[in-house]
Point group: C3
Chain length 436, copies 3
């Protein structure tokens, strides 16, 4: 078997050593105190740094960057060796140069390869299950990278070469990222939520307090939440399909596909997945909030009160077939829309979308996606029904939330309808095939 | 670094070039108008076709098949080069021979490899995330294929060799497929839906219109949907477990496993996954339709009416413990059944089923699957309860839907019961182990 | 193309042969009766064992271990060949030595490699889709393993070297495992369920039977289930976050991270994922049981009865705003908690967690996980509300279930609160960075 050296007997060094041993490598640890380390795997050898370095060609440096200076005196022994820099920083731009470049400058005779830093010691030790986890690697020397990639592959990772050592800072930024692609969609979601929350707070609760002196603030918890959630969901769903429509019109207008979209449109298109998934989250909350309606104290109270007053005042009610049709229809449309919504969510799971061909994926995401938007919009229209015409709907001359949120989806659907009329469709297909 | 050439500066050429550059290759584009291309990545070189061809051994042809004739004059420069044909067609059997074979015939001196055509330009450009996406490759020359596979691997794809160039038409068909395995199950689902929809329409709505003159057509939207969905779901669930039972009986009857199953059985067994997932979709809709029952206008109206009439007619109702037991039991069985159903769905996600050993997967799918069927069947029996015996159930002498849908699951469960009796089980185990 | 030999024309041999042919290998079967095999793929050659062995360097032994003795007479022809042992046993420790070691002892001149036994014949034949399925391999000779791994890779599997032949028994145990990591969590779940079931049975149903003579046993099916499920879910959720807190305190107490945790803590920490997913399952059932409440016969009966008695006794009820606030709040907290719960579940799908960086994963699992626990605990406190103070709550001097289940989560949350106070947090961060 081949021998590999690991400098540092901390969490990372230990975990890495264990995995290397499991994969059949011989492991030599280099430590400051070779005799005091109790947690190391039995089959590993522990030596001083210099001795350890001599026993192997490949050396993993599992030591914090702050302590790299201990390598300077070893420069001679490290000449020609491959040093793998695993280190991460605590925050972005902590140091002027990347850790790997710093290491290279300390030991110019060695061949430094950056890599493995995206793994965690904990996962390395416990998780042999996820073999398609990727490992990124960069460095100047092709052979050195080759050697490191071979080790990575044998440990069950799939290694990806990211070029020369100047890419090291990128690799060092990876573990510090926290959902960079979700930031814009999250901000949009929070903005919309806040805006509609205050709008509806004023329209529903404060209005009723001021005009009728009734305190119905308890409605914030469920009724209001159950308006904000679906409204935000519907708007974000349409924001998901708006850029595609805009792009098509832009192509139509330009008459060619060989020009880059404006930057904002590009960025928008790249975060549609996140927009859509957040929209699904809000729809999910809407559904739960809707399903608990009949359990609520307020609703049960009202229902009893209505029955009681019916009897006390000796009134009768007539069954209204239109109401029944409308009510059942909007519920049914909502359910179908939500079913498709969940389907869109399922197909965006990485393992499912990988199993689909491009045509299948875009059939689901584009065709069924627009159908989802249509169903959800129809659900909301039917829910509004004839309230659009009643003036009592417009408290303080403001339209209710569901009316506001219908604007964007209606526009998107109308534009889409235009795009799929045969003549426009033909033109656009021609453009997309490169026949200008 | 190695140099690679790409002919064509369209979407595909550009995206591919970008990815190649990111992976550390040098990229030379071959274009008709080398100086007018504005969207290309900066680090790439753009030359005429002939010049570009000379600079690299591997050439990706990112040009539509229709324009391949521009390669004929280049035949000399292309001698001995590896040409990767990326092209797709718009529909199946558009041309008599595969594009790659056509390319080979145009440039007989080159070594043509088909591949990469299953990717999309959009995904190539934006999605470095999905590295386990597969790339299929075929071609005559082993070294040529090796070279292309090396590139694919370096780009982060896992390449699969599909044999000689005669497999090219298969690879060209991949991107045109639209859920081929879902076709049969979808047809079954649609057929069953339509059949039960009309059956129940007649039995419930038209019957009441004709015999009592009442228009209850509003029930189509929810009540009817909430009968069709669970009925179809239950039937499809049993269709999922029927072929396994049939196969076992066939093996018992034949006394050996060394004979192929009839073709129809084989095909049926291969679409059980899809049958099961569609059944889950219908069950999901059933659950949603059920949960909104108390919100429906009709239901609230009826409930008020009942209370009102109770009081006006001064009747009292007795609490019926049997009804309570039965009602709660069938709901509880439905919930447990649905929980297991979802579990079956989760374990059929590719990433989850990959993490399971074969024994675990078939424990869940086969053992828990039959349990699911049992629970759902019991749920429906308890729902039917004593209505089976009342003659008023049989309007126009037809049985209600839930009775019809119980036939198949009952048969499957009975046959399965037979199969797991010790003596039959022993025989079948012996047969499956090859001890005839 | 290369030629490969397969001994045995059973299920496994046939399926393997088919896949090998598809991947471009030439396949020669070795069979006892070379002329009677009808199910074999057309392009394969079928010979006697000796002849077949001579035609290839690599031989897959797709024959049960019980029949390995037929290889003894072939020892000469097999000298220097690579024999791949695919065999599995029916149960653990069926034989004293691993099958592969037995094979090696029978044919000492050959190089035995264990591998491929974790696949199933059925999956091999039908599933070219899952290419990231892993294949484990072990053996003495590095070249032999290399050859087998090359075949595995070409078949579309990712091969993992597990070391020397002494690891064979481990590989042979893989296919016999049935959810080993789920065992402890499942036992805990069953234990908790049983304990709370009997506790609540006595407190709710038997108590009412004994003290008031009322038979409310029908409540077992839904009401009782809807207490046991959320209680067990909440306890298991807190069991999921308890070990992390304990570990932190241990590190604080010891003042160093360089000492191994006690074994029980290590084992506990390794089954948190399973604990969490089971807890999610119970929460899911709780939600379904809750949502069907208004459909239940009992609930509808009670509601009608209440209205009727209101009218008959000519009482009025007052709307209680506090009740409305409290009721809506606990439902809302439950919904948000459940939403986050589902999010935790989604991120633990292998394909999703692979797409996340370590920082992202632990942000969701640790930060949002504690938030989930907080929301669910608050949900339960608000549900209990002022019942904590009423003596009627303590039937037979026992506290109700939700009170019992609040103990553990409250403790976990309190300890966590301690840990995130700035001064403790600073100390612990220092310890974890290795600055003792
Ligand atoms: C729950 C949910 C989950 C989602 N998950 C995902 C997901 O996983 N991934 C994802 O991407 N989106 C996802 N989305 C967002 C959305 O469904 C998709 O982006 C969808 O494909 C958009 O369809 P479209 O028809 O608007 O856009 P597209 O079909 O992408 O077309 C948009 C426009 O872009 C231009 N265009 C696209 N391709 C090309 C090309 N090759 N050449 C030139 N121009 C081109 C065209 O002008 C086209 O009109 C999700 C949405 C939801 C609600
Ligand atoms: C929600 C849902 C999801 C589902 N997802 C999946 C899925 O992902 N994948 C999937 O395959 N199915 C899926 N199914 C379908 C179904 O659950 C499985 O196919 C299940 O394994 C069938 O179990 P069985 O016991 O009937 O068949 P099996 O256990 O496959 O046995 C069927 C019969 O086939 C024969 N047979 C099987 N293996 C062999 C063998 N090695 N040698 C000889 N004969 C053999 C035997 O005669 C056996 O009786 C799903 C179903 C549902 C409801
Ligand atoms: C629905 C659901 C799904 C779940 N899925 C998963 C899952 O997929 N995977 C999973 O692991 N858990 C899963 N869990 C369990 C749980 O959410 C996680 O384990 C979570 O990370 C625990 O967070 P924590 O803050 O308690 O522990 P951690 O953040 O792991 O920390 C626990 C303690 O361990 C010690 N520790 C951890 N890392 C180190 C280190 N590098 N060096 C030294 N000490 C260290 C520290 O003392 C730390 O306080 C799931 C839970 C639920 C409810
Ligand atoms: N932990 C992770 O999850 C993780 C993940 C990715 C990357 N990394 C990176 O891996 C490196 C090590 O992390 P870690 O968590 O293992 O740290 P750690 O547990 O603190 O271990 C660091 C080790 O470095 C050695 N060391 C400390 N001071 C030294 C000095 N002055 N001179 C020489 N050696 C010294 C020590 O080993 P001896 O006592 O044997 O000399 C010590 O055990 C860091 O760069 C980190 O960014 C860690
Ligand atoms: N787009 C995809 O998602 C995708 C996916 C898989 C496979 N493919 C395949 O890739 C190929 C290219 O697709 P594409 O979408 O990139 O097409 P495209 O955008 O239309 O680009 C085609 C390019 O081919 C060149 N070209 C056009 N006419 C030519 C001619 N007469 N002679 C020589 N070169 C000519 C042009 O480049 P110059 O102007 O530089 O000469 C043009 O940019 C097609 O075969 C397609 O099936 C595409
Ligand atoms: N089936 C699976 O899913 C699976 C999965 C993993 C591993 N395996 C392993 O693969 C091996 C074969 O399994 P299988 O399911 O294919 O079994 P099988 O269907 O019973 O086939 C066994 C084959 O071995 C040959 N054979 C039987 N008795 C023999 C004897 N006395 N001498 C020489 N050859 C004899 C026969 O082929 P001829 O008639 O041509 O000689 C027979 O077809 C077993 O070790 C099993 O553990 C199977
Ligand atoms: C209007 C219809 C609404 C239906 C909505 C619902 C649910 C499930 C339907 C499954 C659809 C799967 C499409 C797969 C596309 C495909 O081809 O996918 C193909 C892939 C790959 O298959 P192969 O590996 O066989 O090639 O198959 C799959 O990935 C299977 C996905 C299974 C998904 C099940 C997830 C269940 C999770 C629970 C969700 C519901 C919870 C509800 C709680 C109240
Ligand atoms: C009667 C019980 C009903 C329970 C139903 C419910 C839900 C979730 C239970 C999780 C079960 C996971 C089984 C995994 C099998 C396995 O071993 O799987 C093993 C794998 C691999 O694990 P390793 O990578 O650790 O080896 O683990 C997993 O894949 C985890 C799967 C997590 C799935 C969570 C999905 C949540 C989606 C939301 C569904 C519910 C929505 C409801 C909306 C109303
Ligand atoms: C309080 C909020 C509650 C919200 C709960 C709900 C639902 C869905 C929200 C999606 C969240 C996705 C987080 C992904 C993390 C990430 O970055 O993930 C990143 C990955 C990888 O993305 P890339 O491949 O683009 O890098 O993306 C994903 O994996 C997408 C996951 C999609 C999951 C959808 C699953 C839907 C299943 C149905 C569940 C609900 C059923 C309800 C039935 C009643
Ligand atoms: C199971 C599926 C669904 C059901 C049962 C359902 C049910 C309902 C109900 C009962 C209402 C009225 C709420 C109230 O009285 O305050 C409503 C409103 C609404 N729904 Fe849905 N719905 C579903 C899915 C969806 C989906 C997927 C969307 C899309 C985003 C959506 C968007 C809306 C909107 C915008 C409103 C108006 C909110 C308002 O301002 O009051 N619904 N839905
Ligand atoms: C959460 C789980 C479930 C609940 C709460 C539930 C509840 C119900 C209810 C209330 C009915 C009566 C509907 C009516 O009055 O019209 C019903 C009917 C039925 N359910 Fe379910 N169910 C569940 C899951 C399932 C599942 C998983 C199946 C299996 C496919 C199923 C199959 C059926 C069938 C076949 C009927 C009879 C339909 C008919 O009226 O003809 N149910 N269920
Ligand atoms: C959609 C989300 C949820 C809703 C609508 C909900 C609703 C309810 C309701 C109505 C009750 C009272 C049940 C009864 O009257 O018997 C309850 C009790 C309870 N819930 Fe939830 N809940 C949700 C999520 C959760 C979650 C995620 C947990 C965490 C595990 C949880 C834990 C509990 C507990 C411990 C009880 C007390 C059970 C008892 O009666 O002893 N709930 N919930």
């Amino acid at each position: 078997y081949e021998r590999v050296c690991v400098f540092g007997t901390g969490d990372m060094g230990r975990s890495l050593g264990l995995r290397l041993l499991q994969a059949g490598y011989g492991v030599v640890f280099g430590s400051r105190r070779p005799h005091s380390s109790s947690l190391l795997p039995h089959r590993a050898q522990v030596l001083g740094h210099a001795a350890a370095a001599q026993s192997a060609h490949l050396i993993f440096i599992a030591v914090q960057r702050e302590h790299y200076d201990f390598l300077v005196p070893l420069a001679n022994q490290l000449k020609g060796k491959v040093l793998v820099d695993l280190s991460n920083n605590l925050r972005k731009n902590q140091y002027p140069e990347a850790n790997a470049e710093y290491l290279q400058s300390l030991v110019p005779g060695a061949e430094v390869v950056k890599g493995f830093n995206t793994l965690s010691a904990w996962a390395l030790q416990n998780g042999p299950s996820d073999a398609n986890r990727q490992v990124y690697i960069c460095g100047e020397s092709a052979e050195a990278k080759q050697a490191v990639m071979a080790v990575a592959t044998k440990l069950g990772f799939s290694a990806l070469d990211r070029g020369s050592l100047s890419a090291a800072w990128e690799l060092e930024d990876f573990p510090l990222q926290l959902f960079p692609q979700w930031r814009l969609p999250l901000r949009i979601a929070i903005g919309l939520c806040a805006a509609f929350f205050f709008y509806l707070l004023i329209r529903d609760i404060i209005y009723s307090y001021i005009t009728q002196g009734k305190d119905i603030s308890f409605r914030i918890m469920v009724s209001l939440a159950n308006k904000v959630c679906p409204i935000v969901s519907l708007i974000m769903l349409s924001l998901c399909y708006l850029p595609g429509v805009l792009a098509s019109f832009l192509q139509l207008y330009r008459g060619t596909k060989y020009r880059r979209f404006p930057d904002w449109l590009d960025r928008w298109m790249l975060c549609r997945k996140q927009l859509g998934l957040l929209a699904l989250g809000f729809a999910f909350l809407h559904v739960l909030y809707t399903l608990i309606i009949p359990i609520r104290y307020y609703v049960r109270f009202k229902s009893t009160e209505r029955t009681v007053s019916l009897i006390r005042e000796n009134r009768t009610t007539e069954f209204d077939t239109t109401m029944a049709w409308r009510g059942d229809s909007y519920l049914s449309l909502g359910i179908l829309g939500f079913g498709l919504y969940v389907l869109l969510g399922i197909t965006s799971l990485p393992s499912v979308s990988n199993a689909l061909s491009w045509r299948e994926f875009s059939f689901v995401q584009s065709k069924l996606g627009h159908l989802t938007l249509l169903l959800c919009t129809a659900h909301t229209y039917l829910y509004g029904w004839n309230k659009f015409l009643r003036s009592s709907t417009y408290k303080w001359y403001t339209p209710p939330g569901y009316m506001l949120c219908l604007v964007l989806p209606s526009v998107v659907l109308l534009l889409k309808l235009l795009l799929i009329t045969p003549c426009v469709d033909r033109t656009i297909t021609r453009i997309r095939q490169g026949w200008e």
